[in-house]
């Protein structure tokens, strides 16, 4: 009889999940699974709603990345209308998406993962939080708060409020940008850039402490998917999907939203409400994909902004850059790109244009919108009837694309760090920490209610509890 260790819930992630570690008779790890235990059902209850409600409805999927859902949804609705939105509207959506990416990455790095990075994987769990960070490195904690605040403030200035702004609509945006708001945003960016560079410098300085984690934190070959522009630059709002293999060879390029139907398949696993998409031509498991900041940096040829591009070129020299531990560094590089790109876009001559919305009735029965959310490629696919009512919704969320790799990563870490019949906090924290590198958003990906205590049990062959940890 197999023995099991259960980590329930996984802490410091967005939403609710648990991990089960299965031990063999000799105490070694035989297998491990990451279960997503919540279900939200957005795809079904949207059926019957007027299509123009979709951006607002879909934004409610998440309080951390509502802007990503707004943008993917608005783009799917643009396709239903059959319109090309005004260039200034696209530029403004791009700015909001970048601000969203930066604030979400700052949350993941500074609030959720930095406590492990700063205090160590074996530190007292009661101290592994923002307050523990404060005691150890107050400047890092202040920097995290500032970067989050800048991203949130940009979203608020553009959309009127920081969570669930109703400014992004099918056909464009509802309001043009004023010169005053543009200048307010531009004034915040030099400090944000300096802080981000300091964080990158700090992260690189601590890397030697994590050589063991780098080796086994989902460090294996997979496919990577992300968006690039027509020159192969990193892109987050609009462009072409590209898939590369572990050696950097391009497997698919110039994919349009419609191509996803032929190239991405979704598998369902009995142990999780989170689906497991994969690259269809290679089949289940061999078609294992990763998405998100690490994958975007592995997919892009270069970054269009100078500071972030210099970091990218340095990143490309890292031998173990396939390790998911480097999601953290990739996240920081993308924050730097976000501030630089916002600066560039806001300094373009037409950014204050008042032509920011195209109006049309539905011209197609089917629309697909794809964008890069902080956690990776986000796909919204809608069908409507002749009255404009939704008849079908399929959402493929970034966290889903990473599901197979997260499961394989949990197993890899457990096999390296978990042994025998005694549990330590450090062991189990590493198993959770590999999940945190992906920054999964389970509320998004299962389309959380309640608070669950963390309760880990090690159960022996006869069903007896051998060890137990509660947080």
């Amino acid at each position: 009889m197999r023995r099991e260790i259960s980590i329930n819930p996984v802490t410091r992630i967005e939403g609710h999940g648990k991990i089960t570690i299965y031990l063999a008779e000799d105490g070694s790890v035989a297998d491990a699974k990451f279960h997503v235990t919540q279900l939200r059902g957005f795809e079904k209850f949207a059926e019957g709603r007027p299509f123009h409600e979709m951006p607002s409805l879909m934004a409610r999927i998440c309080g951390i990345c509502p802007v990503s859902h707004l943008i993917a949804s608005a783009k799917a609705c643009d396709a239903l209308l059959g319109v090309r939105i005004p260039p200034t509207a696209a530029a403004l959506r791009r700015v909001m998406n970048l601000a969203q990416l930066a604030q979400s990455h700052a949350l993941s790095f500074f609030y959720l993962s930095a406590p492990d990075l700063l205090l160590g994987m074996d530190s007292d769990p009661s101290q592994r939080n923002l307050f523990g960070m404060l005691a150890a490195n107050p400047q890092l904690a202040r920097d995290g708060v500032t970067l989050r605040q800048v991203g949130q403030r940009i979203i608020e200035l553009l959309g009127g409020k920081r969570i669930h702004p109703s400014w992004l609509v099918p056909g464009g945006v509802t309001e043009p940008l004023s010169a005053e708001k543009r200048d307010q945003i531009l004034a915040m960016l030099p400090n944000a850039i300096a802080i981000t560079q300091q964080a990158i410098h700090w992260f690189k300085s601590i890397l030697p402490r994590f050589s063991e984690e780098i080796k086994v934190f989902a460090n294996f070959p997979t496919l990577h998917m992300g968006t690039v522009d027509r020159r192969g630059n990193l892109e987050t709002y609009d462009g072409y999907l590209r898939i590369v293999d572990a050696d950097g060879n391009i497997v698919e390029d110039r994919m349009t939203p419609e191509d996803y139907l032929e190239l991405i398949e979704e598998a369902a696993e009995p142990h999780s409400f989170l689906k497991s998409p994969y690259y269809k031509p290679r089949g289940y498991l061999d078609g294992m994909l990763r998405v998100g900041p690490l994958s975007r940096l592995l997919v892009a040829d270069q970054i269009s902004t100078p500071l972030a591009n210099a970091e990218l070129q340095e990143f490309r020299q890292i031998p173990e850059r396939q390790s998911s531990f480097y999601y953290h560094l990739a996240r920081l590089i993308e924050i730097l790109y976000a501030w630089e790109e916002i600066q560039r876009v806001l300094n373009t001559p037409d950014i204050l244009s008042e032509h920011v919305r195209a109006y049309a009735e539905p011209n197609a029965f089917e629309g697909i919108g794809i964008t890069e959310a902080p956690r990776g490629t986000l796909m919204h696919h809608y069908k409507i009837d002749k009255n404009g009512l939704i008849t079908y919704v399929n959402l493929i969320i970034a966290t889903g694309h990473n599901n197979l790799a997260m499961n394989a990563g949990v197993k890899q870490v457990a096999q390296r760090f978990v042994h025998g019949e005694r549990l330590t906090e450090g062991m189990l924290n590493r198993v959770e920490a590999v999940i945190r590198t992906f920054d999964p958003c389970l509320s998004c990906s299962t389309h959380a209610i309640g608070q669950m205590p963390l309760h880990i049990q090690l159960i022996g062959p006869n069903g007896a509890v051998l060890d137990e940890i509660a947080r």
């Binding site: 609030y111 923002l130 307050f131």
Partner: protein, 150 residues
């Protein structure tokens, strides 16, 4: 600057009373140094704004008071040492503002005893009736502090 933060979800009945108080205050009382915020939940980055305030008043529904009872409660910056993107207590935010920026604004929580948290955009009758008193107490705290500023 004086800061009032109304906390709650307006889609969950009485939970929205903090937001309702903040909205009423913003409509009825404007002053150049008053900033009123309404939010569903507190997040750590609010500590930066709090650090710039002379006084911060939180307004929130309470499960610990009889329904409809309104009470001004003191807050202790050291009482709570945990926060997350999804749950941060007022005292934790004050603790963050102190630790991060050395700021210790005067603070209080105006708590309103509440009972009905189902799906609704309406306050229950006793909570709706308590709203003017909560607003009165917030304005009292604001004017009390204003008098101290030369």
């Amino acid at each position: 600057m004086q800061l009032v933060i109304g906390i709650g979800n307006t889609l969950r009945g009485d939970d929205g009373v903090g937001v309702a108080v903040a909205q009423s205050l913003a409509e009825q009382h404007s002053a150049p140094d008053l900033q009123v915020i309404a939010c569903q939940q507190l997040t750590p980055e609010l500590a930066a704004l709090i650090s710039q305030a002379e006084q911060v008043i939180f307004v929130d529904a309470s499960l610990n008071l009889p329904v409809g009872k309104v009470q001004v409660q003191p807050l202790d910056a050291a009482a709570e040492q945990a926060c997350s993107a999804h749950h941060t207590a007022p005292s934790a935010l004050l603790g963050l503002a102190k630790a991060l920026y050395g700021a210790q604004p005067r603070s209080a929580l105006v708590a309103i005893g509440a009972q009905a948290f189902g799906f609704s955009e309406q306050l229950s009758a006793p909570v709706a009736q308590a709203l003017p008193q909560a607003l009165h107490l917030v304005m009292g705290l604001l004017s009390e502090h204003s008098d101290e500023v030369p």
